[in-house]
C-alpha cells in the first residue's frame, strides 16, 4: 500500500477517532511523523483556511486564464514584498498592508470563512489611520536599508527623517 500523501510505501496505519466517524490513514514514516506532530493549537482554523482557499482558487480558475492567474500570483505587496502566491501556498499573510493591497482577493475569502466582512466589537483607542500610517514604517525601514546598501546616503537620511517623524507622531 502506498502512502496517501506521496509514493513511498505506507508503513503507518492510523485510525483517527476525532471528528465524527473513524477515519483510516495510511502514511509513510515522514508523513506519519508530520501528521502526528502537527500543531495542536488550531488545526480546525488551518483546515477551514485551506478549504476556503481551495474553493476560492477553484472559483477563480473558472473565470480566468492561466496567464491571468500567474499574474495574480506574482502580484506583490509594496510594503512587505509578499506575493499572492506566497500567501496562497502558506495561508499566512506578510504584513497588515496585505489586507489592503490584496483586498479584492481576500474579500471573498473572508466572507467564505466568517460569513461577514465587517468587524463588530472592540476598537483600539488609536484609530485605524494611525495604525495604517505606522505600517508604512515597514516599507520605509526596508527602503532605508536598501539605500544604505547602495550607498545612497542622501536618500537614506531623508528616509530616516520620515521614519522619525512617523515614530514620533503617536507616541
Amino acid at each position: 500500500m502506498k502512502c496517501q500523501k506521496c509514493n513511498k510505501p505506507a508503513t503507518f496505519h492510523i485510525t483517527e477517532l476525532t471528528g465524527g466517524t473513524p477515519e483510516e490513514l495510511h502514511l509513510c514514516e515522514d508523513h506519519a511523523r508530520q501528521y502526528l506532530t502537527q500543531s495542536g493549537e488550531e488545526p480546525a482554523a488551518a483546515s477551514t483556511m485551506a478549504a476556503a482557499l481551495a474553493q476560492q482558487m477553484a472559483q477563480q480558475l473558472l473565470g480566468q486564464t492561466a496567464e491571468e492567474l500567474a499574474k495574480l500570483d506574482r502580484q506583490a505587496c509594496p510594503v512587505c514584498g509578499v506575493t499572492f502566491y506566497d500567501f496562497r501556498s502558506q495561508g499566512r499573510l506578510g504584513c497588515p498592508h496585505d489586507y489592503t493591497c490584496f483586498e479584492a482577493q481576500l474579500q471573498p475569502l473572508i466572507l467564505n470563512i466568517h460569513g461577514e466582512t465587517k468587524h463588530k466589537g472592540k476598537r483600539p483607542r488609536r484609530g485605524a489611520r494611525d495604525a495604517q500610517q505606522r505600517t508604512q514604517l515597514i516599507r520605509l525601514r526596508r527602503e532605508m536599508k536598501e539605500a544604505v546598501a547602495r550607498e545612497d546616503y542622501e536618500r537614506a537620511s531623508e528616509l530616516r527623517d520620515e521614519i522619525r517623524r512617523i515614530e514620533g507622531a503617536n507616541r
Binding site: 502537527q38 500543531s39 488550531e42 480546525a44 482554523a45 489586507y99 470563512i113 466582512t117 466589537g121 514604517l137
Partner: protein
C-alpha cells in the same frame, strides 16, 4: 520567579473551583494582536523578531507589578521545559517547536500567559477555573487595553484587528471552555453532541488540540468565526451552549447511576485500584483511568479523594512533568515505572501516613 517554581504550584485552571467545576474544567479566552509597524511573523527578519520581542517584553514588564511575571525566552529553553509549558497549556505546540526569537510571559498564578512571536506577534490568553467566561473577558480586556496604551496595534477600519491568518481577523478572539464528559463517552452520545455543535458553528477539540483522540474525556468547545460578531456575542455563542452540554452529561451520569450502577461502580473502583497498584503505566492509560476516578468522585463513589488532587495528577503524570518532578531525563519505559510510583505515592497517601507531596 523561576520556571521550576511552576512545578510546585497548581495552575489556576486545575484548581477545581468555580461554577460547574465538576464538569467544566476551565474557561479560556485568547486574543491575537499584531504591532502595526512590523511585518507578520512569516515575513519578519531575525532582526524584526528580536525587535518585536523586545518591544513587547518592555511593554509587559511596564504594565505588571515587579515579580508578577515569569518571562521566559522560549528559544533558549531546553526541549523538556518547552514540553512542560505545552503540557500546562501555557504555550502552544507550534510555539514550542518553531524557531527564532520568541517568548512567553506568565503571571505567577498562571491566570494569564502571553506568547510573543507565535503565529501573531501577540497571543494573550486568560484562563479561569470552572465556567466563568465573563471574568476571563474582564481580565483579558484590561490586559489588552494596557498593552494598547503602549503600542500601536495593526487595525483596519472595516476588518478590525489584523492577523497573520485571515481566519482570526476581526476580534482576533477565541473563546473556549474545557469540559470533562466521561458519561457522554460511555453512553456513546458524544458524537451526536459534536455534530450538533458543528452545525451551530462551534469547534470541538481534545485536551491538546485535535491531533490525537481526546485524552481523559476532555473536550474544548470554541468559536470558529472571529469577524462580524462582537466579543460579547462570541462569548454568548459559547456560553449559551455549555449549560446544555452540562445538562446532557448530568443526565448521562444519572442514567449510568440508575440503570447500570454495578458496572459503573465497578469501572470506577477498578480504575482506582489499578492507579493505586500498578507498577508500570502509560500516559494514555493513566488519563483514561483518572477520567473514571474523577467521575467517581463527583458521583460520590469514591470518598477519600478530592477533585483538585485528580486534576493535578492529569498534568503531573505527563511526560515532561514527570521528568521535571523526578529531576531526571527518563525514557518511555522508565517514565512508565516512575509514573506508577508517583500515582501510588499520591493515591495511597493516608495509608502510608502522609507521604510528602511534591
Amino acid at each position: 520567579m523561576q520556571l521550576d517554581d511552576l512545578t510546585r504550584n497548581s495552575s489556576e485552571w486545575l484548581r477545581g473551583a468555580g461554577p460547574e467545576s465538576d464538569i467544566v474544567i476551565s474557561s479560556r479566552i485568547r486574543l491575537a494582536r499584531n504591532l502595526a509597524d512590523f511585518p507578520f511573523i512569516a515575513r519578519a527578519s531575525d532582526q524584526d523578531r528580536v525587535q518585536i520581542e523586545q518591544t513587547l517584553k518592555d511593554c509587559l514588564l511596564a504594565i505588571t507589578e515587579p515579580d508578577e511575571l515569569l518571562y521566559i525566552d522560549v528559544d533558549e529553553l531546553p526541549g523538556i521545559d518547552r514540553q512542560f509549558l505545552v503540557e500546562r497549556q501555557l504555550i502552544s505546540r507550534e510555539h514550542a517547536e518553531s524557531q527564532g526569537a520568541r517568548a512567553v510571559a506568565i503571571d505567577r498564578l498562571e491566570k494569564f500567559s502571553v506568547m510573543i512571536n507565535e503565529e501573531d506577534h501577540l497571543r494573550i490568553q486568560v484562563m479561569q477555573s470552572g465556567f466563568d467566561l465573563n471574568s476571563a473577558w474582564e481580565q483579558i480586556d484590561r490586559i489588552d487595553d494596557q498593552v494598547e496604551g503602549r503600542v500601536t496595534y495593526a487595525f483596519h477600519e472595516r476588518l478590525g484587528y489584523l492577523t497573520a491568518c485571515p481566519t482570526n481577523v476581526g476580534t482576533g478572539m477565541r473563546v473556549s471552555v474545557m469540559l470533562h464528559l466521561p458519561a457522554l463517552v460511555i453512553t456513546r452520545q458524544i458524537e451526536k453532541v459534536f455534530r450538533s455543535l458543528q452545525k451551530i458553528g462551534l469547534a470541538v477539540r481534545g485536551l491538546y488540540g485535535e491531533g490525537s483522540q481526546a485524552m481523559g474525556d476532555f473536550y474544548q468547545i470554541s468559536n470558529q468565526v472571529t469577524l462580524g460578531m462582537s466579543e460579547q456575542e462570541l462569548i454568548k455563542q459559547v456560553a449559551d451552549v455549555v449549560p446544555q452540554i452540562i445538562n446532557y452529561e448530568r443526565k448521562a451520569r444519572d442514567f449510568l447511576v440508575r440503570d447500570s450502577h454495578e458496572s459503573l461502580h465497578d469501572r470506577v473502583s477498578r480504575a482506582y485500584g489499578i492507579l493505586r497498584n500498578a507498577q508500570t503505566i502509560s500516559s494514555e492509560e493513566t488519563m483514561h483511568l483518572l477520567s473514571s476516578v474523577r467521575m467517581g468522585i463527583n458521583l460520590g463513589l469514591i470518598e477519600d479523594l478530592e477533585i483538585p488532587t485528580i486534576n493535578q495528577l492529569f498534568i503531573q503524570t505527563q511526560p515532561a512533568h514527570l521528568q521535571k518532578i523526578s529531576g531526571a531525563e527518563l525514557d518511555t519505559a522508565d517514565r512508565n515505572i516512575e509514573r506508577a510510583r508517583y500515582l501510588r505515592r499520591h493515591l495511597n497517601k493516608d495509608k502510608m501516613g502522609g507521604a510528602e507531596k511534591n
